[in-house]
């Protein structure tokens, strides 16, 4: 059991470049003690902005620290959505597919849900137009709030490390 993997190995993990056996060995083994921090620092290196990443939130999305007590959800491209405990989808560009025609643009015939029962909502980043999330719900259903991270508990009680904060400007 490695206490930690070489940084290159974690980079390959983030980039999905490990072969299956390596990946499976990692999953079956005890978790390396510094995995989270290494992944966080690899991700930090990949983005063009300086706000420290607190946690990866979803594909392309991060919770970052704008100041010591202001945590926001931010896209890879730099677009800032909202406070970390709010639903970023409310600020996203949304495309709704709720007609036969719109469904057929992406589904084979007879393979899609009935538009009166289910609509497809596609959420895009207003900054870079990346498709961030898709939900399939009944028409009229409220926006699903997937995840409200409990950052204090995670940092203080689970990994016992300080919550990242921007360096104080001199």
């Amino acid at each position: 059991m490695p206490q930690s993997y070489p940084r290159e190995h974690i980079e390959d993990l983030v980039d999905d470049n490990l072969d299956w056996n390596q990946l499976r060995d990692m999953m079956s083994d005890y978790k390396d003690a510094d995995r989270f921090q290494t992944v966080r620092s690899v991700l930090q290196e990949r983005v063009d902005w300086d706000d420290p990443i607190i946690i990866p939130y979803a594909d392309h999305l991060y919770v970052v620290a704008r100041s010591e007590d202001e945590w926001i959800i931010k896209c890879e491209c730099g677009h800032e959505f909202c406070e970390h405990d709010q639903n970023w989808k409310a600020d996203a560009l949304i495309n709704v597919r709720d007609t036969e025609e719109e469904y057929l643009e992406i589904y084979p015939e007879n393979m899609h849900p009935h538009p009166e029962f289910m609509e497809l909502r596609e959420f895009f980043c207003p900054g870079c137009q990346t498709l961030l999330e898709v939900t399939n719900v009944m028409p009229g259903y409220p926006l699903i709030h997937e995840f409200e991270p409990d950052i204090e508990t995670f940092y203080n009680e689970w990994i016992d490390e300080p919550i990242p904060a921007p360096e104080q400007s001199a």
Binding site: M1, W20, R24, M27, S28, Y30, K31, A33
Partner: protein, 722 residues
């Protein structure tokens, strides 16, 4: 090399049992008196017979013999190699295999079955869905061709075979240069006509093109239900087993050239050995741990023990099996190399815990965990010549003073007790804030608790009471833990043969020369028809299948020049009440069931077995019966190893058996412990723990509160004193 005695004179090597592993070829040689010696040599994959000869020579040297002197005395030679299994595991073979399959089923191998995505995984990974993945199929998709045809589950032809499909497919496969064409059509076990027609056409094409390709039919090799295991097994036969035939022939030639007058046989999964010319070689793939079961059964037969629980601890695994009335259960769908196969295999449970299991502290929960990985034959960190870095269970034995560092494997493996203690301190004791010996004892306790739980679930989980069984313990690591893992389970007796380390090899030597054929059937014996009518319909049908299987068994024996009159046949069925799901494996008292009397006898046997397995109240003969499988076993008598019989001397061990006593750690305290030479004890000797009995390849640990008696067959009877 290790040998079971000091005086190497006057031996006649009777039984030779060889295990050619990936790196080393191990030899066990047993003489007329049950004395054994072991040999080792590097495996030579290009021509396995060289490794075989070197390893045999190494073993014979202990008895001051050459192969030319030793081989002529041999009466039984059983060979098992891992080359076949390696082809399966690595999915690499010297041969190319093409498949003809019912049209529409071409992706059978790729789709596999849910279970195949996690077979062979550790328990924690089986629960951890992210780790599941379908294994790579044996045969790539582009070597599989569909043929339009269809036979239904009752064997009726629904769609005739499209002969042009066969021709085209065969041509395409021949263009790719395949060495074997395996044909598997749906429900061919009920009606093999389409497969046979496909072979006829394929062979025509092969002849016309003057190709050197053979055709194999699923209905001839494995006429059993379930197309995935059937196809896996047929593919394994062509892909992994056939290429080994040449190697086995080389081994046979090596025996012949050195004056041996004995046919080399191979251990097969059904619990017997088969000739190297056997049609179905694939079943020799999965013979691994069953040698011990066969040995235990033979031993039970000879000494009058009918019900046995067999336990085998080696470096990597703990294998358990049950023998009732001197017979074992058969598992018809064993798993190997992450493939479900359709082969009869002696049923055993295996857990990944052995003396070589790694000991680690789980950093999340601060508790000791064992395995599932292990150092295997590399022993542990205290074996200074190996490169093991993680503490193993054996290291803990060394630290506790249970194993003599000077005498491990007869002194062949240098062991450093200081290294063991230092590594246990660093890797286990300190992270947990415990003392070294406390931690080492903890590790042993955890292992023994785990083994005890597993053993209990195998026995009581099947509905059996341990008090009806004798537990036999063997394997190199078995006797160290026997007292621990049997404590409190309430077995009738606990038996440890002195030759525990060589018990599996002994078992291979004790295996019958046996062929076995199975066929799935669908024969209903309705409750509302007269016995006479049932006998002339269902009984007739069963008899016909038995006769056909008998023929196949006879043909196999003909390959080895064994005549009909030298074969003892046994007839089995899987039977169930109509509409029920679970079938019982029944040894039939009759070889034919086409008369009302014989059919009645067969059904009575089923009723008895059902009563024994479930209860009188659960019997439901009013539902009628179904025979779901028919089997025929043919056994040809071969020479078996002798079980030693000596005259009891008395309860006190001879002075010469005592070695230098040593302090050992037992449950929190250091006690002066008698150390004895396991092989110098005399029949009738009785000992009380704490004591350590050291043998050539195993150590028998007798903790405080236990006593043991050596009987006239050199078997220890272990019991608790309080």
């Amino acid at each position: 090399m290790a040998s079971s005695e000091q005086d190497p004179t006057d031996h006649s090597a009777e039984i030779l049992s060889i295990d050619a592993g990936g790196t080393m070829t191990d030899t066990f040689l047993i003489d007329r008196d049950g004395k054994f010696t072991v040999g080792k040599a590097k495996t030579t994959p290009d021509d396995e017979s060289r490794g075989f000869l070197n390893s045999s020579q190494d073993a014979l040297e202990d008895w001051r013999l050459d192969v030319e002197d030793g081989f002529p005395d041999l009466v039984s030679t059983v060979y098992s190699g891992t080359a076949m299994l390696n082809r399966l595991v690595e999915r690499e073979s010297e041969v190319d295999v093409g498949i003809l399959i019912t049209g529409g089923m071409e992706d059978t191998l790729r789709m596999g079955r849910g279970r195949q995505s996690y077979t062979g995984f550790s328990y924690s990974d089986r629960l951890h869905v992210n780790t599941h993945r379908h294994p790579e199929p044996l045969i790539p998709r582009d070597q599989i061709r569909g043929v339009r045809e269809r036979v239904d589950v009752k064997g009726n032809e629904l769609v005739p075979i499209y002969e042009s499909d066969v021709r085209e497919s065969v041509d395409e496969l021949l263009d790719r240069g395949v060495d074997h064409i395996a044909v598997m059509f749906l429900h061919a076990y009920q009606n093999a006509e389409h497969e046979q027609r496909a072979r006829a056409i394929a062979e025509e094409r092969i002849a016309e093109r003057d190709a050197d390709t053979t055709v194999m039919l699923s209905s001839e090799y494995y006429p059993t239900l379930k197309e995935l295991p059937r196809l896996n097994t047929l593919a394994a036969e062509a892909f992994a087993a056939e290429p080994s035939r040449k190697q086995l022939t080389n081994v046979q030639e090596a025996v012949d050239q050195n004056g041996g007058d004995v046919g080399v046989r191979v251990m097969a999964s059904h619990g017997g050995t088969v000739d190297i010319h056997a049609n179905e070689l694939a079943r020799t793939l999965v013979s691994g741990p069953i040698g011990g079961m066969i040995g235990a059964n033979y031993f039970g037969n000879e000494l009058g023990y009918e019900n046995l629980v067999c336990t085998d601890i080696g470096g990597t695994s703990f294998d358990m099996g049950i023998i009732i009335d001197n017979d074992w259960d058969i598992n018809y769908n064993p798993e190997m190399a992450r493939l479900l196969l359709s082969l009869p295999m002696v049923n055993m449970e295996s857990v990944g815990a052995g003396t070589g299991s790694y000991v680690r502290v789980n950093p999340t929960f601060d508790k000791i965990e064992l395995g599932p990985e292990s150092a295997g034959d590399q022993v542990g960190v205290s074996a200074v010549e190996t490169d093991v870095e993680t503490v193993t269970v054996t290291d803990c034995h060394v630290a506790l003073g249970w194993i003599d560092p000077e005498n491990f494997l007869g002194g062949d493996m240098p062991i450093d007790r200081n290294v063991a203690e230092a590594e246990i301190r660093e890797q286990v004791a300190e992270p947990l804030g415990m003392g070294v010996y406390e931690a080492a004892q903890g590790v042993v306790d955890i292992l023994e608790n785990k083994l005890r739980n597993d053993l209990e679930s195998v026995v009581t989980g099947e509905g059996y009471a341990p008090s009806n069984f004798k537990c036999v313990s063997y394997g190199g690591g078995g006797p160290v833990h026997t007292a621990g893992y049997t404590s409190g389970l309430g077995f009738d007796e606990v038996l440890i043969p002195e030759w525990a380390a060589a018990f599996s090899a002994f078992g291979c030597g004790a295996a019958d020369f046996e062929y076995r054929y199975d066929q799935t059937t669908n024969i209903d014996i309705d409750a509302d028809v007269s016995r006479a009518e049932a006998a002339s319909t269902a009984g007739e049908q069963l008899t016909e299948i038995w006769t056909r299987l008998e023929e196949k068994v006879r043909d196999e024996f003909t390959n080895s020049n064994v005549g009909r009159e030298e074969i003892e046949f046994q007839y089995n069925i899987l039977g169930q009440y109509q509409g029920q799901l679970n079938a019982l494996d029944i040894e039939s008292p009759v070889s034919r069931a086409d008369s009302p009397e014989t059919l009645e006898e067969l059904l009575d046997t089923f009723e008895d077995a059902y009563r024994r397995q479930y209860s009188e109240e659960a019997r439901s003969p009013e539902l009628g019966h179904t025979v779901t499988q028919a089997s025929v076993r043919g056994v040809h008598d071969v020479v078996k190893p002798e079980i030693p019989t000596e005259t009891p001397v008395g309860p006190d061990p001879p002075e010469s058996a005592y070695k230098q006593p040593r302090e050992s750690y037992w449950d929190g305290e250091w006690l002066d412990t008698d150390i004895l030479d396991l092989h110098a004890l005399q029949p009738g000797n009785e000992l009380t723990g704490p004591a350590v009995l050291e043998g050539a390849a195993t150590t028998f640990v007798l903790p405080p509160g236990y006593e043991t008696r050596l009987d006239e067959h050199r078997v220890h009877h272990l019991s608790q004193t309080d």
